[in-house]
Symmetry: C2
Amino acid sequence: MNHDQPKDRIHLTVHEGDRITPVLASRGDTLLSALRAKGFGITAPCGGNGTCGKCRVRIVGGPPLPPPDALEHRLLGAHAAEGERLACRIRLEGDLEIALPRHGTAVIVTDGWLPSAALEPLAVAEEIALPPPALGDQRPDDRRFFDETGCSVPPGLLRELPLRLRRDGFRIGYVYRSDNRDVIRFLAPGEAASVRMLGMAADIGTTTLAAYLLDLRTGQRLATASALNPQRTFGADVISRIEHAESRTEHLDELQRSVTAALGSLAGDLVREAGVSADDLVCLTLAGNTTMMHLLAGLPPGAISRAPFAPASCDALTVEARFLGIPEPVRPDALCVLMPSISGYVGADIVAGILATGLHESGDRNRILVDIGTNGEIVLASGDRMYACSTAAGPAFEGANIHCGMGGVTGAIDKVRLERNHDGTAVLWTAIGQDRPRGLCGSGIVDTMAMLLEAGVVDDTGAFADDPSALPPELAARVVEYERWKAFVLVPADEAAHRSPVLFTEKDVREIQNAKAAVRGGIERLMQKAGLRPDQVSELLIAGGFGSFLNIDSAFRIGLLPEALRGRTRPVGNTAGAGAMMALLDARLPVEALRWMDRVEYVELSADPAFMDLYIDAMMFPEA
Amino acid sequence: MNHDQPKDRIHLTVHEGDRITPVLASRGDTLLSALRAKGFGITAPCGGNGTCGKCRVRIVGGPPLPPPDALEHRLLGAHAAEGERLACRIRLEGDLEIALPRHGTAVIVTDGWLPSAALEPLAVAEEIALPPPALGDQRPDDRRFFDETGCSVPPGLLRELPLRLRRDGFRIGYVYRSDNRDVIRFLAPGEAASVRMLGMAADIGTTTLAAYLLDLRTGQRLATASALNPQRTFGADVISRIEHAESRTEHLDELQRSVTAALGSLAGDLVREAGVSADDLVCLTLAGNTTMMHLLAGLPPGAISRAPFAPASCDALTVEARFLGIPEPVRPDALCVLMPSISGYVGADIVAGILATGLHESGDRNRILVDIGTNGEIVLASGDRMYACSTAAGPAFEGANIHCGMGGVTGAIDKVRLERNHDGTAVLWTAIGQDRPRGLCGSGIVDTMAMLLEAGVVDDTGAFADDPSALPPELAARVVEYERWKAFVLVPADEAAHRSPVLFTEKDVREIQNAKAAVRGGIERLMQKAGLRPDQVSELLIAGGFGSFLNIDSAFRIGLLPEALRGRTRPVGNTAGAGAMMALLDARLPVEALRWMDRVEYVELSADPAFMDLYIDAMMFPEA
């Protein structure tokens, strides 16, 4: 990244309270992007589009800037006269000295979605000089400490207190829980000011673990890391994990140890990448689907997989790392917050997603959040009510059960489109990496399906055209017979890896029909529950990795999403990770979640006749 | 104890609710003493003197008894006509069938002091049939349990819940903490009704441990056991234990392990004696002086021994047995309540003593509780205020620093008196056991001192008579010279063990003067603090083993206690053990103690000029 010429370098001087940080930036960058690139926590929920007015900074030195434009004037009001500017509107042309607002809110940057959270972390470091005992003040040490700090010393830390107080002249540092004011650990004098207070947020996916290291004092994200969930060796999906956990008592322990070991190792990666000490990692927030949360907590998940699907617990749980068995380098006394779940199939990942998208604070807007995986979890917020359901989409969108389906790795076709020009009709595709294509990942599958409909290769019932000769010849040539199924040759053998053609069969079409009908039926069912027509829905948010790569137009073309919501639909990235990060920065959020979760009506689809009707209706593809 | 002849045997049939227990008793016993001997919880705060009217039973069978006397009629009122009698007034002359009143209050029988306590133990067993989950009721197991029982399942027990519910058809037993409604353990169906809920109360003395096993459902005492405190090998008194604990880090652990091992072993003795299972031992209450409580909890006690004497903690602490390290047969999840202390030298044993004597509920009476050991702890209750102090009596009353002093064991002279008759003056004594006397225990020391004053051998300044020839010849002959000190020969060599005479020296007199001045000065100082004259004090209670054996007249004769309180002074036995038992039966008491303890003004005597004046005044012995 050393391509800046000296003349293009801008020197920024950033004041944050008493702290002054020199920052190198590039000419032409916005001040906002320069600050974010260096990890400064700066609020900008609009993503730097100059519409939210939140990325305020104060200019304290440097050559004069162009005056605020009309937009800045409108958003800043009287503050403009006080030297305040919007960081997103300032393009760097010369050195600049600025002051950031006093912390209190911070921003979390995740891929595609930028929620902001107040800085109220679960662990806070303080220091105090206690009045030493005297004959006229014989208060016991714990009482003296409590009287002066309002913090209680748990039995396990009581022993340390007298020794530290007398060694350090009754000056003592302490890290305490902001929710119940229990001391978590004691510190030497001076340490409270210098210790980095770090937190790790983790999204525990069935397949992938994503972890984020945050500075709890500034809200800065210091590092990210990800790993495959090692539990996958015990089964690819939730149900096979549950079966494994149930087959022998030790298996549950084994599954728990497997994920906690991975979390310990991710923590090691994060602190290494950020160049910080794992000793300063004081809390973790953990979100995943309900089964992942059960396995993490060592709770028997069996009942989740059998009607009536009642989990052992959906509660938020705050425990020490030693209780879960998260190993070094995570300290045994690090606090782990397991986010709450809504039901057996609407898990803590969705609760985190609701937090990240502010779905529970939608006001009078009607908003829908969809997270598509093996199960499609859907939440609809309408007024002060929320509805949630989980719909068995099956693994088709993840590439499983599709003849040439595969994960989103090298060799997977991720984009497909039809190009019609004066030369005729061409099928264009891109694959991940430089390799010859081996198959189709989720977004490629949806694109292929959309393309086949658009080209008339497949009709609205899902049948291949009876008479391929009516198709353009370039397409007709690609329709073949494959093991009693009709199939479309997306990539012929000589262009594909291992000289094995990439096919899309009539059976694959049936899988997609089932999968999309499940998701679409769920969306329709929740709108029906809430008494809403599609045009009354102001926003449809697509969460998760699949949502990020999905071509939204293709999703509408195959009828996965209701046509009426086109234009009001957008991907929001890994909202589970974003929500876990928010909960890390503001410990009140998981607790508040327990309250608003009571407003969520869980709609069990497995025995719902209305859903069955909608599901069957949604099996058809939209007509061209 | 098999000296009852068959004809002297009485068969009692005792109904307690639905339970019927056959009891063998002896002809001539009172019904009260027969019931108590078998461990029935029966209230009689007056000690069986027929004044409190509380030991009511209903006669349901057997030959007619002599009719109630006037006293019974007065105390029972209309209940006499309904077949009720006072157990203390019935002398057993034939077989008898009786019913005890429904429990609700229970009595704790301790040696000499009989407080009653409500039955509100910390651990309660219940059973519930939960509504099984259904598609319309998918509440998670922990929420379902909470909704139906109001009890929370701690993280460590969560794993068990789903397995038990599904194995046992959603019927589940549980033991929970009555204070915070947290589940302690789960039970199989039917077990909640059958399990014996047992508690152990222990008084952790510097020298002796006393433990009591109680039935938490009935309040019955099932067994008692005692043992020497094994910590004594690390030092006889509190100060030497503290020094040992401070000399190396491991020593504190060693001292903790030493007392927890003893508690485990006492629990084993108790359940063996009572023929019950240690698995049913669900909670323990533990009381001792502040240093013993620190060593039990593993807290550094060092600061207690150095001005300004601020302990690590005086708080009540409820922890699991595993936290303290109390070993098998005590279950690791048994709840241990460490009673709170008032200050470094007014410990949990005194708090328990206040509970047992109801000192904190003295109303408008002014009452004093004195516990004499190496330190004399004194508490004075006056109106809504209490004053407490600890006075360094030294170990003289325990036999230490006294030339022929010894503990209250075989060979110790425990009673001494002067008998003047027509034959002259004789010194009479009794010794513990059948052996020749070897020395003097505490009560014998006080008796000897009183006798020497009474006989004129020692004058009010503590000096031996200048001219022994003025004494009766029997006494004059006993005054000898011993290693530069004058001494009185209590037992000549030829009557004593090992042909070593039992002497009482002028130096012993000085020790007693110091010790009694410390206690007396403390009592006077608290009365002064409260603005009370001795005649305004309605009761002086002497707690502890020494108090039980002490000849109260001798205590007044030597001026240990203010003469004005003679007639209003009585021993109250092991109030620390009694208070711990009360706290076992009524878990609210230690919590309430934390509240009334705020009303206790601790008077630090070590830097108190007013105390020094009173102490010096109290050095003199009262004149004859």
